[in-house]
Each structure stands twice: as structure tokens, then as C-alpha cells.
């Protein structure tokens, strides 16, 4: 219970601070404030993908439908956050670089994640039997997760990056941020991650109860 209150307070404080403090980057001005929302949302997209994959592996090794349910919910949430990350990124791109879409490596990666989530959900809706659905979608989720590291190497060779490589994280992978900016950013990251966990837990509970009421469930 206490961590839910903490999450609420944390996100509330972050939202207030983001708009009160000076913009994190002077040249871009006010629009650079999106950094505090866009990056955590993109982070949650990847986190959800990881959670879905871990649940898929757990399902395949233990054959408990709860894990399948968790993988499905994590993917649905991941899909939602991927859309949010894409849209918020596109709005920022329009203002900072002049066009909504540039096929920048990170735009491409988030778009591919969106495609994977879409394909995963399409696969789930195409199979009716529950354990077959669970099996096949778990296999697909793991396969898709394996290919993602390749994209990290392959995609930047096709498109030039517009994302900052020097301003926030420099080439030696050292974070270059004023202490206050760093603090707000990390709090925002934590806040969004906790928000994800909260929604995720709630969804899992609701779906299990829903299945119990319908009486169709094999989940204890």
C-alpha cells in the first residue's frame, strides 16, 4: 500500500518540478522538458518487453497459465507505452528537428518494438485454445526478444542518429547532467517504472477475478 502512495507523490512532485525548474537544455528551451516524460515512457516499453519475455520462459518451464496471463498483460501495457513513446517522440521531433518522422535509429527501434507487440497480440487473437495460445505466443515472444540485440548493431548503420549522443550521455557513457536534472530524471524513471508495476498488478488481479467469475479459468 505504502509504495502506491509513494508513487503518487513521486510522480506528482516530478510533474511539478519539471515545469518549475529551468529547461534542461538551453538551446531547445521549453520543449526539452519532454525529456523527463519521453525517456521514462520509452524505458517502460523495453521493461514491459523484458517482463513479457521472462514470463514466457516461466510459462514454458512451469506450464502455469498465470505466467501466460502476465506475459499477455505486460505486452498489452508495452504496446500502450510504445505508442506513447512514439507519439511523444514524434511531437518533440517536429519541434526540434523539423519533421515528425526521420527514421532515426531509436525511432526505428521503438517502431519495431511496436510491430513486435502488434504481431504478438495478433497471434494471440488468432488462436482459440488457451494452452495452445499460451505455448505459441510464449515461443514467439522469446524469438522476438532474441532478435532485438541485432537491431542495436544493424539499424544505426542504415540511418544517421538525431538523438543526442553528447549532451545527456557522452561518448564515454558518462552522464552529463546537472545534479537537479539528474535527480528529477531518475525520480521520473522510478515513478514511471512503479506506475507500470502498479497497473500491471492491477490488470493481473482483475483478469484473474474476471476469469473466476466466468468460471472458465484453470487458474487457481
Amino acid at each position: 500500500m505504502w509504495w502506491k502512495i509513494l508513487t503518487g507523490l513521486l510522480i506528482g512532485t516530478v510533474v511539478v518540478l519539471v515545469f518549475l525548474m529551468p529547461p534542461p537544455q538551453k538551446e531547445l528551451g521549453d520543449i526539452s522538458r519532454i525529456f523527463f516524460f519521453h525517456v521514462p515512457v520509452a524505458w517502460v516499453t523495453v521493461l514491459a518487453f523484458l517482463v513479457a519475455m521472462v514470463n514466457s520462459i516461466l510459462y514454458l518451464s512451469r506450464k502455469d497459465l498465470v505466467y501466460d496471463l502476465q506475459a499477455a498483460i505486460s505486452s498489452q501495457l508495452g504496446f500502450l507505452f510504445a505508442i506513447l513513446a512514439t507519439v511523444s517522440g514524434a511531437i518533440f521531433a517536429k519541434n526540434a528537428w523539423g519533421s515528425y518522422w526521420n527514421w532515426d535509429p531509436r525511432e526505428t527501434s521503438v517502431f519495431i518494438l511496436l510491430l513486435i507487440y502488434g504481431a504478438y497480440l495478433a497471434l494471440r487473437s488468432a488462436i482459440e485454445m488457451e494452452d495452445r495460445k499460451a505455448n505459441l505466443s510464449a515461443v514467439y515472444s522469446i524469438l522476438a526478444f532474441i532478435t532485438v540485440p541485432f537491431l542495436v548493431f544493424v539499424v544505426p548503420r542504415v540511418f544517421q542518429s538525431l538523438h543526442p549522443t553528447d549532451s545527456i550521455v557522452n561518448s564515454q557513457i558518462k552522464i552529463q547532467m546537472p545534479p537537479l536534472v539528474l535527480l528529477v530524471f531518475l525520480s521520473s524513471l522510478l515513478g514511471f517504472s512503479l506506475l507500470f508495476v502498479w497497473i500491471y498488478n492491477l490488470e493481473v488481479k482483475v483478469t484473474i477475478l474476471h476469469k473466476k467469475i466466468k468460471g472458465s479459468s484453470t487458474i487457481k
Binding site: L115, I116, N135, V139, F150
Partner: protein
């Protein structure tokens, strides 16, 4: 040990020959596959008309033709077992690994045969010049191997789904994307006559992708097949 491995290879080759022979008898996917490739090639060629394109665009078009031809044909290898209701019998007579290896081999032969037809046609119809032929061949063979490794397991997944339709392409594309980007870049290099050392990076990526997908699909095939 020696006898065990020889029975395994003989089982795989028996499964491969079964598919190969039944394909020759029924022409279940081959005819449609070849015609599909020719049609896509014609569409591409007609839409270009008299324009002369850079080798980069030609290599992309080349792999688009191969990708969509593969999408139209490679799923059949498992779908036909489900449609003919022979998959249960197959489960009884052979281990999942040997079934998967047989199907993989069959898809690879099918795809390579398709490429033997597409490559000359593409060279003739679009004036596609290949200056470093050996690099091109390496990219083509490694690319096909990687493509087959990742699509055969997806074919097995799709065959179990009740709605097949466009699912195969939808599921395959995100997984094949790193491969497609790399083979297009490699084909472009080969067509511009780059040396082997320049194409080495692409070949390394293709090789590692193929190995990873091969191992992963072998491990995961059990779960798709067992039910």
C-alpha cells in the same frame, strides 16, 4: 555414438525426401511460389519502366521480391501437415528435432531453388550488375540460411493458429528485419564490386544471426510441436 548419429541423419534425410517427393508429385507450393516470384518481379520491372536505378535501390527491390516470395511459400511446409491431418502420425514416427531439421532442409532447398530462378531474371530484367560475384553468393546463401532458420519455426507456429491468412508475414517481418537490413547492405556492396574485406562485417552479422536463430528455433520447436 556413430550409429546414433547416422540414424539421426538418415531420419532427417528420410523426412526431407518425403517432403521433396510429395512436392514433386503434388506441386503443393512450388508452382505457386515460382509464379509468385515471377509476378512480383514483373510488377517491379514494370513500375520502374525506363528509369535507371542505383544499385542500392536494386538490391532492396531484389530482397523485397525474395522476402514476399518466401512469405507466400515457406509456411506451407507445416500447414500442409495440419491440413492433411498427418502431423499426429509424424509425431509418432520421428523426434521433434529430426522433424524440424528435415523441414528446415526442405525449406532451404525450396528457397535456394527459387533464387536460382530469380537471380538470372532479376539480372536480365532490371540490368542488375553483380561485380563481386563470390561476395554476392556468400550473402545470398548465408541470408537464405538465416531467413529459413527463423521462418521455419514461425511456419510451425502459424500452422497451429486457427486463422492463418497474413499472420506468417506479420510474425516474420519484425524478426527478419535485422537480416533484411544486413543482406540488402551486403548485396549492395557486392553489386558495386566491393572487396571481400569490406563485406566481412555484413557476413559476420549474418553468420551470428543465423547461428542464434538456428539454436533458438531448435530449442523452442519442442514447445510448438509437443501438444
Amino acid at each position: 555414438m556413430g550409429t546414433k548419429s547416422s540414424t539421426w541423419t538418415s531420419r532427417v534425410s528420410a523426412l526431407f525426401l518425403k517432403d521433396f517427393k510429395s512436392e514433386l508429385r503434388t506441386r503443393y507450393s512450388l508452382d505457386a511460389l515460382v509464379m509468385f516470384a515471377v509476378i512480383t518481379l514483373t510488377v517491379v520491372s514494370f513500375s520502374i519502366g525506363m528509369f535507371s536505378l542505383s544499385s542500392k535501390i536494386k538490391s532492396s527491390l531484389f530482397w523485397i521480391v525474395i522476402f514476399f516470395s518466401a512469405m507466400s511459400g515457406l509456411a506451407q511446409v507445416f500447414i500442409k501437415e495440419e491440413e492433411a491431418k498427418t502431423s499426429t502420425l509424424l509425431k509418432l514416427v520421428a523426434s521433434p528435432e529430426s522433424i524440424f531439421a528435415g523441414k528446415l532442409l526442405y525449406n532451404l532447398v525450396l528457397l535456394l531453388f527459387l533464387e536460382i530462378i530469380i537471380v538470372p531474371l532479376f539480372v536480365i530484367m532490371l540490368g542488375f550488375s553483380i561485380l563481386n560475384f563470390w561476395l554476392f553468393l556468400c550473402v545470398l546463401v548465408l541470408g537464405s540460411l538465416g531467413l529459413v532458420c527463423s521462418t521455419t519455426i514461425i511456419a510451425a507456429i502459424v500452422a497451429k493458429a486457427s486463422v492463418k491468412g497474413a499472420l506468417f508475414a506479420v510474425l516474420s517481418f519484425p524478426i527478419l528485419l535485422p537480416l533484411l537490413v544486413t543482406v540488402i547492405s551486403g548485396t549492395n556492396l557486392a553489386s558495386e564490386g566491393a572487396s571481400f574485406s569490406q563485406g566481412l562485417r555484413d557476413l559476420q552479422i549474418l553468420f551470428s544471426y543465423t547461428v542464434v536463430m538456428f539454436v533458438a528455433s531448435f530449442l523452442l520447436f519442442d514447445f510448438v510441436w509437443e501438444e
